[in-house]
Symmetry: C2
Subunit: 345 residues, 2 copies
């Protein structure tokens, strides 16, 4: 006779299988030292009763919540979607669940909001996306609470704090090489805001690719930008009205590249016939404009999966995770996406 009404508990399973609840617990948690026949019997009953252990009970007794938190600031940021998708799928595979929280990076009660979530939910780990992963207040709140964190593409790595990222410098080099191999020589570059480290790294990759081809960056072809559509459009207006126009533009993110496209169109300059354009990010929009943008795809979903794995691994005390562990800072491979905004000159 199963418990009346509600869904089955571990007691129902134990009674039905003729074992103690401890044994059921062992089987469900893949603990060693259970006779094969016992295990099978338990699993059969679990199946028959459609039993699933209740998270709140496991959490209260065992101190693990099976919850991973994802903190983000700007929900419209292109990467949030992919990060979340990767994280939620990997969580499911590992028996975890993803709790999301949107936080203003400069909210006065940031600390309180984090404390509330952490103390109430006790997530087993937290994934931090930019710019929250570089916010000292956020980092401090999480450190104080003892919540394991993984930083996604932080400005700089912190000793002892796991992170996942891609290689911006190398990616910028590669996509510059795409342009160079198409015969472009006069390549303009639109920078990101100086306070973001990605800006510098992408510029560095651009310059390094140029130099490797025996070219020197032309200061006239370097324009400032701030990663917004408008700044890309304005920079392009400047660049495309030079006496000697560039034949290609490398906008250091997609939003600005979209701005370049808009400017070119307005000036009646056909892309890619008269001008090649590349971006960086592979935002959802990049493939939906005309012409579709050649760009760099950040391995966001893979990074998120890796982050979840690192967080779950931390749960097992055997994986101490020394502060100098090289595995603490992962760099994942990116992808160059060649579409129709680039052409040989």
């Amino acid at each position: 006779m199963s418990s009346r009404g509600g869904s089955p508990t571990i007691v129902d399973v134990a009674r039905e299988a003729g074992v103690s609840i401890k044994t059921v617990s062992r089987v469900l948690n893949h603990e060693p030292g259970v006779h094969e026949s016992t295990r099978e019997q338990v699993l059969k009953v679990v199946e028959a009763l459609r039993y699933r252990p209740k998270q709140s009970a496991r959490s209260l007794a065992g101190g693990r919540s099976f919850l991973i938190g994802l903190l983000y600031y700007d929900p419209s940021a292109a990467f949030v979607g992919s990060v979340q998708q990767g994280a939620t799928l990997r969580c499911r595979e590992l028996g975890y669940h993803l709790v999301v929280e949107s936080l203003h990076n400069d909210a006065p009660d940031l600390r309180q909001q984090i404390d509330r979530m952490v103390l109430a939910l006790r997530p087993d780990g937290m994934i931090l996306t930019p710019p929250l992963c570089d916010n000292p207040e956020v980092l401090a709140a999480l450190r104080d609470s003892g919540t394991p964190c993984v930083l996604m593409s932080p400005e700089r790595d912190l000793p002892g704090v796991p992170s996942v990222r891609m290689d911006d410098v190398h990616a910028a080099e590669e996509i510059t090489n795409v342009l160079l191999s198409l015969g472009h020589q006069r390549i303009a570059f639109i920078k990101g805001p100086p306070d973001q480290s990605a800006s510098g790294m992408r510029y560095q990759g651009f310059v390094s690719a140029l130099r490797a081809h025996g070219l020197t960056p032309d200061p006239d072809l370097i324009q400032p930008g701030d990663f917004t559509f408008a700044s890309g459009r304005d920079a392009a207006h400047q660049l495309l009205s030079r006496r000697q126009r560039p034949t290609a533009v490398f906008a250091s993110n997609d939003d600005m590249a979209l701005g370049v496209l808009a400017a070119a169109q307005r000036l009646g300059l056909p892309v890619p016939a008269e001008l090649s354009v590349v971006g960086f990010d592979d935002s959802p929009t990049a493939g939906l404009v005309w012409p579709p943008l050649t760009t760099v795809r950040q391995p966001m979903a893979a990074m998120a999966r890796a982050a979840v794995e690192m967080l779950v691994a931390v749960q097992r005390p055997d994986m101490a995770g020394a502060p100098d562990d090289p595995e603490l800072h992962k760099v994942l491979p990116h992808e160059i996406v060649v579409r129709d905004s680039t052409r040989a000159r």
Copy 2:
């Protein structure tokens, strides 16, 4: 002396405040019948100890998880971001947390995936987005588990199941009126896929606005589409090569409108000078293309907030929610966003 090590519990608060844990519980849950001075004393200690009740303990004892689930299929769908943002913010205000889960609408183990989440987490409510909110299997799994649901923009309303939506017919009428009032008479329409009810409603609004102006829809100017960029582009190629071109195109979603923009650009037809274009959705991309798109903004965040509120309200048994409650099916106001893709002819 507080409990050594770990964070404070209700026992610590009770001891410190000189009351029983039951009284602390009363204060924290805003239960009536606590003397004002007692309440203040308790709150003072709560503040001093930075005490927050643990979700797992509350959930296990009280049967409420303070978790709301958000189920979605396509993470890149424009509306998911706004829905999630609205839901997560409202959850925070109400002391809840949002757990997200991405599900394939046609996964063979859909039922199992839902059962796993529901039985493990016991969310107090679930928000379903299209197309999951119209998936009989999903609906059945949730009904069987007794989890309260709110459907976001379902194809059709189900008796007794709460829903939130906007008025597609009316919105389509209004945006058609925008074109009509600009002097356009030859207005083309690109339909959505026949199996989505939004397609029919938007077309209906279009026709009704035309008729109200004494115009009859011209079959030559009605093209099929399927809500994809490609279908919009192809439909536009057809329309713009007619002997007598339309002066405006109403694409029944933004992705298709973006396709129209691409086609016009390719044909050298300047928008909005020679052709006005309107979409529907106000997707993130709509404002980032050139020219920025005139479109309809769905009140996604507001709908999500309303959904959370309905779910939280259900928790209180006093709100029975009769199957014929008119409040069960909410219709929220939309917004017409006029940008630069439309001009008087």
